[in-house]
Symmetry: C2
Subunit: 408 residues, 2 copies
């Protein structure tokens, strides 16, 4: 049996919807592969009674609870007080914590209000968790059945604190049988298409299959039990990836940092010593923007009017053959650019079609490299921002597939 874990977020800004609670999802993503079963996420505001009631509930039904928020020096800090009242533990002064809170104010050249002294007060028996990335320290303690860890609510601080301090503690405190998580990353294919493609493959019941569709990729996630044979795991992953086809741009294991599509392209462009010039239309700058900071991207241009782009490049636009037009433009760009690759993205469809979420546009992508032209055509529908994003991703994916396979 996996230990039961709950996640609890404190803050008026969460409960009133001013902040989307991304901490809970992020923490779940960390602890599920570690071997915990997450049973609940709860968020409450800054009301002491609610906090006390919730802490007591959790202490009877969970083995572990990760808590975020309610520790910051500039907001009402109710967490320590609520814990003290919930479990009948007196608050005790912690000199080291007090120094940390004081330094926070010193660094900002502000006098420390007397009220902040209470941030150095922890319930008896609690262990301080130092927070070198931000404001006040956190703390942990065992209450009833449950081991609680209290962390700050600022996502960047919380993530650092979790990875550096809490995660090692969890590993040593609990008997865990971590699963093995594999992520197959794709672009240019929807979740339901993936499901259809892998429908014929039988997935053992002890393997958890899940999907995560983000704006920039669709991830097929497989969580294997800790004792699943390595060879069988590799075979299943390779069978699934084969069925999904060449839309797969990366397969990650836990701990891998393969990253997103641009990360994959970045590695390949740098390894090959290539450089790129872009002309884009439907993506309107977003194609270049996604490659921010890449040394290999030398230039991009966008013109709203295809005729005006053609004029400046000295190319006659043939609306009935955008592939030929894109090829001619790529050749012209190569002549004035220092880049050895040229990527031209054109689209067919008038401005009304582009804005209409119920209508599709056709994308014509042309990549010119040392060994000639490589081209793809796609149809994209949806709101204009989706069309823009897909246009950028599908053009990048043409580059990725050329670099990974050198054949299209």
């Amino acid at each position: 049996m996996n230990p039961k874990l709950e996640i609890f977020s404190q803050g008026e800004e969460v409960i009133t919807g001013q902040t989307v609670d991304t901490n809970a999802a992020w923490l779940s993503q960390q602890v599920v592969p570690m071997g915990f079963t997450v049973t609940r996420h709860t968020a409450v505001g800054d009301r002491l009674d609610d906090l006390i009631a919730l802490l007591r509930e959790i202490s009877t039904r969970a083995d572990c609870c990760l808590c975020t928020g309610g520790l910051g020096p500039t907001t009402d800090d109710l967490t320590a007080e609520a814990v003290a009242k919930a479990f009948d533990l007196p608050l005790e002064f912690d000199g080291i914590a007090f120094g940390q809170v004081k330094r926070f104010f010193e660094h900002r050249n502000r006098p420390m209000p007397e009220s902040n002294r209470k941030q150095a007060m922890f319930p008896k028996g609690a262990k301080r968790i130092d927070n070198e990335w931000g404001t006040a320290p956190g703390f942990s303690l065992q209450a009833g059945r449950c081991w609680f860890a209290f962390m700050p609510g600022v996502p960047s601080e919380m993530r650092h604190l979790f990875l550096e301090t809490i995660q090692p503690k969890l590993v040593s405190r609990f008997t865990l049988q971590p699963g093995k998580l594999i992520t197959i990353k794709t672009v240019g294919i929807g979740e339901s298409d993936i499901q259809q493609r892998i429908n014929s493959i039988e997935i053992p019941t002890q393997v958890q299959l899940g999907f995560r569709a983000g704006p920039d990729d669709v991830q097929t996630k497989l969580l294997f039990p800790h004792d699943y044979p390595e060879a069988a795991m590799a075979a299943l992953v390779s069978e699934l990836a084969g069925q999904i086809g060449d839309t797969v741009f990366a397969i990650d294991r836990v701990g891998d940092a393969t990253g997103d599509l641009v990360f994959v392209i970045d590695q390949l462009m740098n390894a090959g010593g290539h450089t790129l010039a872009i002309a884009e239309t439907a993506s309107q700058g977003l194609l270049a923007a996604k490659c921010i900071g890449s040394q290999w991207l030398l230039e991009t241009r966008y013109e709203q009017s295809l005729e005006s782009l053609g004029q400046k490049l000295g190319v006659t636009v043939n609306a009935n053959d955008l592939m030929a037009t894109a090829q001619a433009m790529a050749v012209k760009i190569q002549k004035t650019s220092a880049a050895d690759f040229v990527l031209v993205q054109l689209y067919a469809g008038d401005n009304k079609t582009f804005h209409d979420k119920d209508k599709s546009i056709f994308l014509y992508n042309t990549l010119l490299t040392g060994d000639g032209f490589h081209q793809t055509i796609h149809s994209v529908a949806g709101p204009i921002k989706r069309k823009q994003n897909q246009a950028a991703l599908l053009a990048l994916d043409l580059l990725r597939r050329y670099l990974q396979h050198k054949e299209l």
Copy 2:
């Protein structure tokens, strides 16, 4: 006393962190200005016992509960069963709901599995909520102290259903004293700077002040009680906006759709019949990308090398005077472009500085219009993607301030 409302999300994908639960935050944003006090968000997975326990808890402590998830026809639909068991209500067949579920499968040309029949089973006394935007219908029912509404978990379906069906029901069922929400939107200023600027203004205790810092703006939110005098409200808002200064690009009331910075610019550019050409560096395409679909944006260009950009434009780059360089570039671009406005964004700092999150770059924005040059200089730090985004926003904001004030 405002009625107490809880929000409850069901689904393994939420509890395991595969999905960030944006539904809870969205629903809170809707119901808080309506006059509810949100006391808890809870998420549980697809375990029947957990669901039953949670439903019982909520029925004793909340006046209203909005539930999402657990209704889809292709996943385990435990909600109706859990409600039936929690409150001892037999499940009853609903012919109209059955027709809706059947049509879902017919539209997809798939046979309806026998198991889906249970989706037309509702606890005795429940009222069906038709869902014309998706799959299975929802339902509502009173249990103990609490009125429950069960909606699908797909955000777009849930939002439609809430706005069209649930919200009117809430208004008629509960005695609400809706507050008045005012949002002051700014760009180019941080939350803590805003706080400092408005520090001297006394905000009455019955007015709730909050901040929401997104990537593209910082929103200062004021929630006034329903009976707050209109004149006093207007005076306070105008005093606050005055203190925050010309970084304010919009002030919204509930129901306004002023939108984001680009929306504001869009209105002004179209009203004035203006068009724009851009040359961008640090934003690397993102400046143009943010204006997706705008008729007034005619072209953008990006070159990694400032020298190469200068060469192509016939401008000698003076690294010690990027303002003069940007002016010269704007003049050249105006000559070859059909646009009457030209926006040039350059930055000082080498590539290493750009990548280093602890180092700042300086942005030089130049806007050339019929009445001359308008310029701003900014220093931006942080990770490269933040620098990129700020570069795009600050250049757009120069355009916005020119259009709103015609003086800088």
